[in-house]
Amino acid sequence: MTARIGVITFPGSLDDRDTHRAIRLAGAEPVALWHRDRDLQGVDATVLPGGFSYGDYLRAGAISRFSPVMESLVEAARDGLPVLGICNGFQVLTESHLLPGAMVRNDHLHFVCREQKLRVETAATAWTGDFTAGQEIHIPLKNMDGRYVADERTLDELEAEGRVVFRYLDGNPNGSLRDIAGITNEAGNVVGLMPHPEHAVEPLIGTAGTDGLGFFTSVLRTLSTVGKVSA
């Protein structure tokens, strides 16, 4: 059975269709989830895609967090469902307190779009198993509110527990504390990051490489090892 991976569409989600494509290219079946539906349709994992849900008005992710679908998702995530939040999806995850800290305006106050070099800090999450710790990858970055902040204690804790998943290399694009590009929860099933793996899955499109595919193949491997689906 192929894995079924949900992609939530909020009003103002932009990269949902791209995420469907990435999931397909990785060999899984994308399942469209609608913000108003509580039903997660029995998916094996879920992606919260990038975009400007609710226009990023108030704060990025602040309004989406109260969607009916998020109630089910928060519960499922606590029960171990693999969840990946990309950019706006990451912002929704912090607003929902599934991940600690918060995302604020880039320190230079501009939207930034560029190819970004990252270091994968840990392979021990549901979404990074196909990488090796220390591996350097290229993933497009595009955001306005990408600066990750949290208090010192939280940051220390994240580092001590190996929960910083990605760090920016060759220049911090937004002033993120400790160059953090992505983090995970204690259980390692929920991962959020600012860069966009779904835009690095085809050689011709977006960035030159296909480093983004690893996120989606990783979760398939995770699912097969827990026996949810066959690889």
Binding site: P11, G12, L14, D15, R17, D18, R21, A22, G50, G51, F52, Y54, G55, D56, Y57, H108, H110, F111, V112, C113, R114, P140, K142, M144, H196, E198, H199, V201, E202, L204, I205, G206
Partner: protein, 749 residues
């Protein structure tokens, strides 16, 4: 004040109306009375005045724009031509593409962020109204001097607005232009282009037909913003003082527009839409009269049903409001319920405001009383037409006689080197990454090429790799020296840019930015540019499918340079064959295609080194452009070239430098016999490109060029980490990069 109904108007012929304040001329007002057989009501006057404004009626430009249709080349690809919201072109495999460029110049000067943002919003709705999914935007921009303090106010705001709106809509920005010139100081040019894709059967037109069909207004509520924006902002100069009761600037809501896009595409997909029109300039006045005018019947609208943001608005104001993010659809009665359901799904407010009637009148009521009863064609399509006087300006001869060939030239290699550095570091030639990095170019996952490539390219079919490429170009300096040639040079450059990436140019859109049409000199520039563009399009076989005219671009008595901006759209069967600009492989051979003549009039060199503008612009040879395009396309298709970059402002040295920096490789150039190194590097002769040819393909490539009669000169090899011109100078790549990349951030950050 009591309601000015049609009945009341008929009984009070002598009531004075503020037609002059609304920008109408006496004879125009007379014509309205003649059409109606009575004085207009206040609401009717509001409609006529906005719809007969320069911006909506094209009254000064119409007689010249006609040529685009009259001289249009036979082109079987053209599915919908000029006159609709945007033209539609067949790109094969059942796909059609629609694209158009528009201006938002004056609002962007007053409120840079919102002016530019709503410019993007407006053009996107135009494309959407054709039935297409918008897939990319571009933004040709022009500002005053780069170091002028006001540029630091206007430019960052405009760029943030374009990014803020476009990024939030999920439309990749795949190219544009940034030009600085003091002539745009008080009047920046903010043009925005949108491209959309659909299947042939999805084409929708703006017309209301089918008696009993319902008229549905959906999207944002109507507020008091932008009232009179059309006439005051787009048609008059800034010093005109009118009653500014309501703000003429609008605030955009990109989130609402994103919902409008998804909602509208779902409505199309379910076949719920008979006719559709976006609300842009002139708001409901425009949408209702154009829908009714193009359709077979009449239309009745109950204006009091329009959902308002501000309940104090008068019917006149509702008709003129330019509130953003609204659309108007004509829907069969049986489909209304489903229509409203889909709107509800997307949180989009939708209201039935009227219906298509049997007659041929547009009737509008306000709480049951009739306030408008007009023949819609007279509002929408039969506005005034002016034959404005035009005359070649007296100064034109002197300007052309002031030949750039007389300017002092660099004395040797060392001075040449200095001038090259100065050129690539000049604001117009320097890297625009500080600007373009504020735009999302990845969203939708189909972007094959984006800035700084010669043209933007998006894939439109994942299975086959079918894609389209678009470039926009314009050079106000050339057009100032000779508007006819200048317009053709803009066309030629844009055409060449598309071909350089391997796509076959198909069709044209244009935005004509000029000064006041009441100035005969400006009118001559406009007439010449139209003639040049129409002639050029005929020769190249690329019809103009639509565009936009922006007049009154001037500060006081001084007009901006005549600035025709031309967008060319091309098609490529498989985007895997696209040609990028980067010199990526050391050892590849660098060929210069085309002929280099001594042409420095209007050049970047004359501007940067001498602050000079005079002489004649480069000569145009459109047959040569076609041949060059053929070679570039064949070279890409058959794998003979690995990189290509067109030559335009800044000449060869600029192009080669950009290809080196992009690829991270140097180049060793040898000046061909008989050519002066200075001319080789800085001349701006048209019809040229540089290409990188793998050694294994050299023979095949040169044979092809030889057989087709295109001059191809081997001028060097990709190698090392410097731009080296043998016997002249060598510039380390790191030094050039620093010069090229530091300028714009230093000015704006």
């Amino acid at each position: 004040m009591s309601l000015d109904t049609t009945k009341h108007a008929a009984g009070t012929p002598d009531t004075p109306l503020p037609w002059a304040e609304l920008g109408l001329k006496e004879d125009e007002y007379g014509r309205i009375r003649e059409i109606l057989g009575r004085r207009p009501t206040g609401a009717e006057l509001a409609m006529y005045s906005v719809m007969w404004s320069e911006h909506c009626s094209y009254k000064s430009s119409k007689v010249h724009l006609k040529q685009f249709g009259e001289k249009a080349p036979e082109n079987t690809a053209l599915l919908v031509g000029i006159g609709e919201n945007a033209g539609v072109v067949d790109v094969g495999q059942g796909y059609a593409v629609t694209f158009k460029v528009e201006s938002h110049n004056h609002p962007s000067y007053i409120e840079p962020y919102q002016g530019a943002a709503t410019g993007v919003g407006g053009i996107v709705r135009d494309i959407l109204a054709m039935g297409a999914r918008p897939v990319a935007v571009m933004d040709p921009l022009r500002f005053g001097a780069a170091d002028h303090p006001d540029t630091k106010r206007v430019l960052p705001g405009v760029v943030a607005g374009i990014g803020g709106y476009g990024n939030c809509l999920g439309l990749p920005n795949i190219g544009g232009e940034v030009v600085f010139d003091p002539c745009y100081q008080g009047n920046p040019l903010v043009n925005a282009l949108c491209v959309g894709v659909m299947k042939h059967e999805d084409i929708h037109l703006a017309k209301a037909s089918g008696t009993g069909n319902q008229v549905i207004l959906y999207g944002a509520r109507t507020g008091g913003d932008g009232i009179g924006g059309v006439s005051v902002l787009a048609s008059e100069t800034f010093d005109s003082t009118g009653p500014a009761k309501r703000p003429a600037v609008q605030v955009g809501d990109p989130f609402q527009e994103k919902l409008l896009i998804e909602c509208t595409l779902e409505l199309f997909a379910e076949g719920l839409v008979t006719g559709i029109q976006d609300l842009g300039g002139a708001g409901l006045s425009c949408a209702t009269s154009e829908l009714a005018s193009a359709g077979s019947g009449g239309m009745r609208v109950e204006l009091d049903r329009v959902p308002l943001r501000d309940s104090s608005l008068s019917p006149e104001e509702i008709l003129m409001s330019e509130s953003q993010e609204r659309m108007c659809a004509v829907v069969e009665p049986a489909k209304v319920a489903r229509f409203l359901e889909i709107c509800e799904k997307w949180d989009v407010l939708a209201t039935v405001i009227g219906e298509v009637t049997e007659g041929d009148r547009l009737e509008i009521t306000w709480h049951g009383e009739q306030i408008v009863d007009v023949p819609p064609r007279t509002v929408a399509h039969e506005g005034p037409v002016y034959q404005r006087p035009y005359a070649r300006p007296e100064w034109q001869d002197a300007l052309q006689a002031d030949d750039a060939a007389r300017l002092p030239r660099p004395a040797g290699g060392e001075e040449l080197r200095e001038q090259v550095l100065k050129l690539v570091a000049s604001p117009n030639q320097a890297s625009k990454a500080w600007i373009t990095d504020q735009y999302d170019r990845f969203v939708q996952g189909n972007t094959v090429l984006a800035q700084p490539e010669d043209s933007g390219m998006v894939r439109i079919d994942e299975e086959t790799g079918l894609g389209v490429a678009v470039a926009t170009d314009g050079n106000g300096r050339y057009a100032k020296l000779d508007p006819y040639t200048g317009a053709q040079l803009a066309l030629a450059e844009s055409y060449r840019n598309v071909a350089a990436t391997g796509a076959r140019p198909l069709a044209v859109t244009d935005c004509l930015n000029f000064g006041s049409p009441e100035d005969p000199g400006v009118m001559w520039q406009f007439a010449e540019a139209c003639r040049g563009l129409a002639d050029g399009c005929r020769e190249l076989g690329t019809p103009v499918t639509g565009g936009n005219v922006s007049l009154y671009n001037q500060t006081g008595e001084t007009a901006v340079h005549p600035t025709p901006v031309v967008g060319v759209l091309g098609v490529i069967d498989d985007v895997a064959r696209r040609t990028p600009m980067a010199f990526a492989e050391p050892g590849q051979l660098v060929y210069l295609l085309g002929e280099t003549r001594e042409e420095l009039g209007g050049s970047a060199w004359s501007q940067v080194v001498h602050g000079h503008l005079g002489g004649l612009p480069p000569a145009v040879d459109l047959d040569r452009e076609k041949l060059l395009a053929d070679i570039l396309i064949s070279g890409s298709r058959d794998g003979m070239i690995d990189a290509a970059h067109d030559l335009s402002d800044g000449g060869l040295v600029q192009a080669v430098t950009e290809s080196c920096l992009k690829g991270g490789n140097g180049v060793r150039l040898v000046v061909p016999d008989g050519l002066d190194p200075f001319v080789l590097l800085f001349s701006e002769s048209a019809g040229r490109a540089v290409v990188a040819v793998p050694r294994s393909e050299e023979l095949r490539f040169t044979d092809m060029c030889g057989a087709r009669g295109l001059p191809a000169t081997r001028i060097g090899v990709v190698d090392g980490d410097a731009v080296e011109v043998q016997g002249q100078f060598s510039l380390p790549l790191a030094e050039v990069r620093e010069a090229y990349e530091a300028t714009i951030p230093a000015l704006l950050a």
